[in-house]
């Protein structure tokens, strides 16, 4: 099946060097079938899959039941936070009901400009949602890991209702000038190593990258 695609595309564009298939927007890649999934940089129209970006066609056959057709653009890749992405954000303002954040990184990609994020009180913790206090979870200036759950009209709605999500880097509120990050001493507390002040936070259980990868697959 995929051999056929490769052949067809190579015929139409005439470049088959180094076994890479280069495609441009509007180029027909293959027919829509049950076992083919429309991936990044492609769109479906009239029973066919077309490329919507310039780049290299990538056919992912890692799963046996289906194939993912996607186009990878070399060089600069445009990233916009999408639903389900893990983002890194800085807390800007906290109110009793929500915390406003500035998203500056999506997955491992640093963004050019920050996007607005909104973390509501109900989405801070998985359990005991009614007992959550935003003031006891975040402070302005904290760096948090969060998951995008929705895109509202004005901003992205974030959630930290997972053990791995929450505050990663935080500074004690009175010793800000020293810029010594606090050390987590529990799932809801952080301590400054210099002054030994303890402050409540919704701490993220940061895992090494390798273990996250194994979780995902």
């Amino acid at each position: 099946m995929t051999e056929a695609i490769k052949h067809a595309v190579a015929d139409s564009t005439g470049n088959n060097e180094d076994n890479i298939i280069i495609c441009l927007p509007g180029e027909r890649l293959c027919r829509v079938e049950d076992n083919i999934i429309v991936g990044d940089g492609t769109y479906e129209q009239g029973g066919y899959i077309y490329a919507s970006k310039s780049g290299i066609v990538n056919i992912d056959e890692s799963t046996e039941t289906c194939q993912v057709v996607s186009v990878h653009k070399p060089g600069f890749h445009l990233t916009i936070p999408a639903t389900g992405d893990i983002v890194t954000a800085r807390v800007l303002v906290t109110t009793p009901k929500f915390a406003k954040c500035a998203i500056f990184s999506v997955r491992n990609v640093l963004l050019e400009s920050s996007y607005r994020g909104l973390l509501r009180k109900e989405d801070v913790r998985e359990t005991e949602k009614d007992r959550v206090d935003i003031y006891k979870s975040f402070k302005p200036g904290d760096i948090i890991l969060a998951r995008v759950i929705n895109q509202m009209e004005q901003s992205f709605t974030l959630s930290t209702a997972e053990a791995e999500l929450g505050v990663v880097v935080a500074y004690a509120s009175d010793i800000r000038k020293n810029r010594i990050p606090m050390v987590p001493i529990g799932w809801a507390e952080m301590q400054c190593p210099k002054t030994t002040i303890k402050e409540p936070r919704k701490v993220a259980k940061v895992l090494p990258e390798s273990s996250i990868k194994s979780n995902r697959t």
Binding site: T13, N15, I20, I22, L24, P25, G26, E27, R28, G41, Y43, Q45, Y50, S52, K53, S54, G55, I56, K73, P74, G75, F76, H77, L78, I80, E112, S113, Y115, R116, Q151, M152, E153, Q154, S155
Partner: protein
């Protein structure tokens, strides 16, 4: 002497229309004489130069020379909509800003109006091209700088923006190409120069003066076959055979219209080939760079891995000593 016959139209209920709306004005005569008139129509683009990624500070940029017309386009990554101009749409918003360089135009008074006009036309041309559903609640700013104007401004700007959008990695449904053709007194101008465009621009409102030969009634009957003059700008997307934009001004018969349309589509086709080649080269170039970067990263990883292994094998002290010897600064 001017003479405007006013015909009564029952449908218009007393209002009148000018019967000689589409005749060519007299004062353009001399101007027309000075223009080089093509003998045969060659539906081919002008000598074209396109360079992708001319600016390193912006992600998507393209520079295009179409004959003497020089245009630069810049596309910035999507920004969030500002609260004040939020319209309730489920699509991304495209904003185009066209600017003339200070030295591009002699007629400085007309510049703001032309900039405005070009911006809105360009926005309309690009709207069907971009997959706007992919950045809902975002706005995409496209800036165009015109460095030199020798006709076909809008079509060149559309071509240039299309390339810049793809370079920026914004999803588009297709490649877009545009071209201009016009007719004036049975002379078909393909890719009209600034002079020809100016000539046609004077007729745009249709309030032209009477022709010199229409003095008696019999002659007027013959004049039914009025001279055609008109300008046609076509932007097309070929995969689905769609027209992204069609701008027309002047007076054209349907047959002429079709003829001009065919010319523009022909040019669009050859421009598309060129743009395809340029973009494919660009992808290859980027791919090679990516591979090199990956290789360097891999080498760095290997180097670090070797160091760590060494560190584990030898004692720490010994390792530091051996490393100091390798340091070029201490060697000096």
């Amino acid at each position: 002497m001017l003479r405007v016959t006013q015909t009564k139209n029952t449908l218009l209920d007393g209002a009148t229309i000018d019967s000689q709306l589409y005749t060519t004005p007299q004062d353009c005569e001399d101007f027309f004489e000075s223009i080089e008139k093509p003998t045969t129509v060659v539906a081919a683009p002008r000598p074209t130069f396109i360079r992708v990624g001319v600016l390193t500070t912006v992600r998507g940029s393209a520079y295009m020379e179409y004959g003497n017309t020089k245009v630069m386009a810049i596309v910035a990554p999507p920004r969030e909509l500002i609260r004040s101009n939020v319209r309730r749409v489920n699509m991304g918003v495209i904003n185009c800003y066209v600017n003339f360089a200070a030295f591009a135009s002699d007629d400085l008074e007309a510049v703001p109006e032309r900039e405005k006009h070009l911006s809105s036309m360009l926005t309309k041309a690009l709207q069907p091209l971009v997959c706007r559903n992919e950045f809902v609640n975002f706005q995409l700013d496209i800036r165009v700088l015109i460095l030199d104007d020798d006709g076909c401004l809008l079509s060149t700007a559309i071509n240039c923006c299309g390339v810049a959008l793809i370079e920026c990695g914004i999803s588009t449904y297709d490649l877009i190409t545009a071209s201009t053709a016009c007719i004036y007194r049975d002379h078909v101008f393909v890719n009209p120069t600034a002079k020809v465009e100016e000539l046609l621009w004077q007729h745009r409102a249709g309030n032209a003066l009477l022709g010199s030969s229409s003095k008696s009634k019999e002659e007027k009957e013959e004049q039914k076959d009025v001279q055609q003059h008109g300008l046609l700008i076509i932007a097309s997307m070929e995969t689905f055979e769609q027209l992204a934009q069609c701008q027309q001004c002047g007076y054209l018969k349907p047959e002429t219209y079709v003829q001009l349309l065919d010319f523009t589509l022909e040019i669009n086709k050859s421009l598309r080939q060129l743009i395809k080649r340029v973009l494919t080269e660009r992808v290859k170039e980027q791919h090679v760079l990516d591979m090199r970067e990956k290789q360097l990263e891999h080498q760095e990883d290997q180097r670090l891995a070797a160091i760590i292994e060494k560190l584990q094998q030898q004692g720490l002290h010994e390792f530091i000593q051996s490393n100091i010897k390798e340091d070029p600064y201490t060697a000096k």
